[in-house]
């Protein structure tokens, strides 16, 4: 499966070079096979066209290397790690590389996206080939000047040395190199020769972050820009009837109060796919000279709302989801063997139901976006995970050509899926097109939490049959609000390990907007499934680790192409986690819980260590073993892993957004609990060292954390936890208590 030396692209198809007017060479390349360059890169940097290429390297006459990083940065570290891969093959010193965020223009893109932990995995081959090809051209230029064969030249940190000992820097030959043909066959480095990949590189923006430089959408400002605060429906299901803006209009700094909604409704008619992400109601917008004036005047708008569609509540959802699980409206996502017969023949059956709530994303930077719609162009700027998609929707909504859209991506103060949707981009564009001014829409924290695109509430019911000491049947049913798990998940573990296996899904259409939330679906499924296997092992009186290893022994991906996870790599993370966590060999006052999981192409095992303090279990430490293939930037990778684990612990412990009459019952951090410093466990990470192509880390360590905690709490208290967040059932977080098994 290692693809380190496999070339899957034709370099001609994804790279072009040209010499720059100001000196130096520009290499345009495409990270993804779906993108084909149509033109040569421009000779004037101001003409950079991301329609033709989605990333660029500039090598200046003085040898300085600038890499324009194509993908949006949400804290996952790709602005550092993607350029590192190029720099490795280009053979320059990392300290000499300057990284800039690329921009977007809007035609023909398929993946200028931050999402799904896929940037590194998808970019790996193209990034390396780009660096290696550029290096070869520079070497060829030097060799030609010396009249020697290129193979006699060596390169180190941007300096080319001939066999005779002559040297030339990249800057000395870059002009010649830019005139050369792009070579077809270039060698890629062996991992053992890596000087940048696998070494710690701090975040390229660290100095700016530590000194408070403007980086984020909320920091974005242009001359003449005004600020907008939006009065949104107070509840999902509400529609604006009328409003009185007289008090607001009299307030200092208020420039205008307008109503929006018409353009969004027009867009939704044309593109109904976005209707589950944005309200079609009219909204009232206060435009003011400053953020505070806009926010304050917004509170002075007296709006009247009516019930357009039903006002839903958590209590109703709870019943609806249970009814769905009890009902028969399922879609079968995967079915192996015959579960019905296997359950009929089983000696023992275990069935359990697991429940999760809605979750807001709570990015620390509230949603915001800048728009300036003029006749000449539509200028958009701010934090967005899916710039191309949003640019397309805005063009459609405003009846403009996509080429009219100029979109700048700022660094994002968190994304976690919330910034995939960009309802705020559409809002900003409608407002600017109405007031004809450059405007920034700013959500208050209350707007952000009350008008979210939430992780939906889901219930899983899992049933397993055991016969002659073996698991013979497994049936997973999912009941979810709005959307069910996507196609890959039914093929995750334990698919392939159990002969009679079925995954069924059902859903209920709600008017509450829902969407992806860090590690969609698996963020809750991992806990449900791995709690279930723990309990199943107890029922079977089997060793919890051995049960998992035995199941993995049965998986044959070579016989079932739907199965993406590798049983061998999974077994390895399990074995290392057992060893590193001291599984089964801890002092009596430390209780452990085990989870192994695969999602987002990465294999993970986690062990939670729990101690009892004041009669309650407290998560002290998580040992996390990760197989993500080659680790591009260990310093960044560890940060992602630790963050994902602690985020997973925090949300499974505390995260919950309830609804009453269509409205969330929490709107800020005084009523919504986030994990904080004192509750954050120590995370000890171990990487499996191998030479597989790298996979992403933004998501895969989050899902297992909740399961590891639940299993450790069971060990500590005797209580199984079937509901997230765990603090929802405080009576089960007490020690001692009676065991409830079976």
């Amino acid at each position: 499966m290692s693809t380190n030396t496999t070339l899957t692209f034709s370099r001609r198809a994804f790279m072009r070079t040209s010499s720059l007017a100001g000196g130096g060479m520009l290499i345009g390349f495409n990270l993804f096979q779906a993108c084909k360059p149509k033109a040569a890169p421009p000779i004037d940097l101001s003409q950079l066209n991301y329609n033709d290429f989605n990333a660029f390297i500039k090598i200046a006459d003085n040898g300085a290397v600038t890499i324009f990083s194509p993908n949006p940065e949400i804290g996952q570290g790709v602005k550092t790690s993607m350029p590192m891969i190029i720099a490795e093959e280009l053979d320059v010193a990392w300290k000499d590389v300057y990284v800039e965020q690329g921009i977007l223009d809007t035609e023909n893109y398929t993946r200028q996206v931050a999402g799904g932990s896929q940037s590194i995995r998808h970019g790996w081959d193209a990034l390396r080939q780009t660096g290696a090809t550029a290096k070869q051209m520079l070497v060829n230029a030097a060799a030609a000047r010396w009249g020697v064969d290129a193979s006699e030249c060596a390169v180190s940190e941007g300096v080319i040395t001939s066999a005779a000992g002559e040297t030339l820097g990249y800057g000395d030959v870059v002009k010649d190199a830019s005139m050369l043909e792009v070579p077809e066959d270039v060698a890629l480095k062996e991992p053992k020769d890596y000087k940048i990949i696998g070494k710690d590189a701090p975040n390229v923006d660290i100095h700016k972050i530590a000194t408070g430089k403007p980086l984020f959408g909320l920091d974005y400002k242009v001359d003449g820009m005004v600020y907008a605060a939006v009065v949104r429906p107070p509840a999902f299901g509400h529609k604006l009837v009328s409003y009185d803006d007289s008090a607001a209009k009299a307030m200092p700094g208020v420039l205008d109060v307008i109503k929006i909604g018409e353009k969004v409704r027009g867009l939704l008619e044309e593109d109904p796919s976005f209707s589950s992400k944005i309200s079609s109601s009219d909204k009232v917008v206060v435009v003011a000279e400053s953020t505070w004036q806009a926010m304050k005047a917004k509170e002075a708008i007296k709006a009247e709302w009516e019930e357009d569609t039903s006002l839903e509540s958590t209590e109703e959802h709870d019943k609806i989801l249970t009814d769905l699980l009890d009902g028969s409206t399922f879609k079968t996502e995967r079915s192996d063997g015959n579960i019905k017969r296997a359950f009929a023949e089983a000696d023992e059956i275990l069935e359990r139901t697991y429940e999760s709530p809605f979750l807001p994303h709570n990015c620390m930077e509230p949603m915001n976006f800048f728009a300036n719609v003029t006749e000449e162009k539509v200028h958009l700027a701010g934090p967005i995970q899916t710039p191309a998609w949003k640019a397309g929707l805005v063009a459609k909504m405003l009846g403009r050509e996509e080429s009219d859209i100029y979109l700048e991506m700022t660094r994002m103060g968190g994304g976690f899926g919330r910034r995939l949707y960009g309802d705020f981009v559409i809002e900003a564009a409608e407002i600017s097109s109405t007031i004809k001014k450059p405007v920034k829409v700013v959500y208050s924290r209350e707007d952000d939490m009350e008008d979210g695109i939430y992780r939906m509430a889901i219930k899983y019911r899992i049933k397993a049959g055991v016969k002659d000491g073996k698991i013979t049947a497994y049936h997973l049913k999912e009941a979810a609000i709005n959307d069910n798990m996507y196609g890959l998940i039914p093929n995750f573990f334990p698919a392939g390990a159990i002969e009679n296996y079925q995954v069924d899904t059902a859903n209920y259409r709600s008017n509450i907007t829902t969407g992806a939330w860090r590690a969609p679906y698996t963020n809750f499924l991992a806990y449900a499934e791995q709690s279930f296997f723990d309990e199943l092992a107890e029922l079977m009186e089997a060793d919890k680790i051995q049960l998992r290893l035995d199941l993995l022994d049965k998986v044959k991906p070579e016989e079932d192409e739907r199965i993406q996870y590798s049983p061998e790599r999974m077994k390895e993370v399990i074995k290392v986690a057992v060893e590193k966590s001291g599984w089964g060999a801890k002092p009596k006052n430390i209780y452990q819980g085990f989870v192994n999981y695969y999602c987002h192409n990465t294999h993970v095992a986690e062990v939670a260590d729990v101690e009892i303090e004041n009669g309650e279990p407290v998560v002290k430490k998580i040992t996390c073993v990760v197989d993500c293939g080659i680790v591009v930037n260990p310093l960044g990778a560890l940060n992602q892993i630790e963050g994902g684990v602690i985020d997973g612990v925090g949300h499974s412990m505390y995260g919950e957004l309830q609804f009453e009459n269509g409205r969330p019952t929490a709107s800020n951090f005084d009523k919504y609990r986030m994990i904080r410093m004192r509750e954050a466990p120590l995370v000890e990470t171990h990487f499996i060292k191998n030479e597989y192509s790298p996979t992403g880390l933004g998501e895969p360590t989050l899902p297992p954390a909740g399961g590891a905690v639940a299993n450790a709490f069971k060990a500590a208290t005797g209580n199984r936890l079937y509901k997230q967040p765990f603090t929802k059932t405080p009576e089960l977080l007490k020690v001692p208590s009676k065991e409830i098994i079976g």
Binding site: A210, M412, Q640, G643, P730
Partner: protein
């Protein structure tokens, strides 16, 4: 049920900013304030939180808006050396005291806390980090030899959704060693 957060000794507690609709005929007083060692004059309504004065009127955008109610710590600044939540504080309340923001913590980003942040490579998204650094630097001024428990307690009021807590802890301990 959500548990009540018991962490707030260092938080400025305030409810959501109360809006008096009746008193809309506000005056726009001129304030003289001292920010990062410089005197500034601003014309803002008297209820404008210091956070928005810094961000919108003085272009000091390093101080971040997170919650507006003193719960998350993203807006932390120093007021005469004490860490305060600028979202829940007006200029009138400053009463001549001087403010230091992340931009003025050091001239070139070399304050020991900033250096430790770089050494440990704390941030992920980075948005909350100015507030974390300002909380940590004020804390260390008064507690030069903290234990890890002290650090955890001091930093408990600042939320990081990326959960970079392990590195924050480590960086504050390193900074403590390097502060005079």
């Amino acid at each position: 049920m959500l548990k009540k957060n018991q962490s707030n000794q260092i938080l400025v507690t305030s409810t959501r900013n109360q809006i008096e609709i009746q008193s809309i005929q506000e005056t726009m007083p001129t304030y003289q304030i001292k920010v990062n060692g410089e005197s500034k004059t601003v014309d803002v309504s008297e209820d404008t939180p210091v956070l928005w004065v810094l961000r919108d009127h003085l272009d000091l955008v390093g101080t971040k808006y997170g919650c507006g109610i003193g719960q998350c710590g993203a807006c932390t600044v120093h007021v005469d050396g004490t860490a305060m939540r600028s979202c829940s504080m007006t200029l009138a309340q400053l009463d001549g005291k001087s403010i230091t923001t992340i931009e003025g913590l050091s001239e070139d980003g070399t304050h020991p806390v900033q250096e430790a942040w770089k050494e440990v490579d704390v941030p992920q998204c980075g948005y909350c980090q100015a507030g974390q650094i300002m909380t940590a630097s004020a804390f260390l001024e008064n507690n030069p030899k903290p234990t890890e428990e002290d650090v955890k307690n001091a930093m408990h009021g600042n939320i990081c959704r990326c959960a970079s807590y392990s590195r924050i802890r480590k960086a504050v301990m390193i900074a403590a060693e390097n502060m005079d």
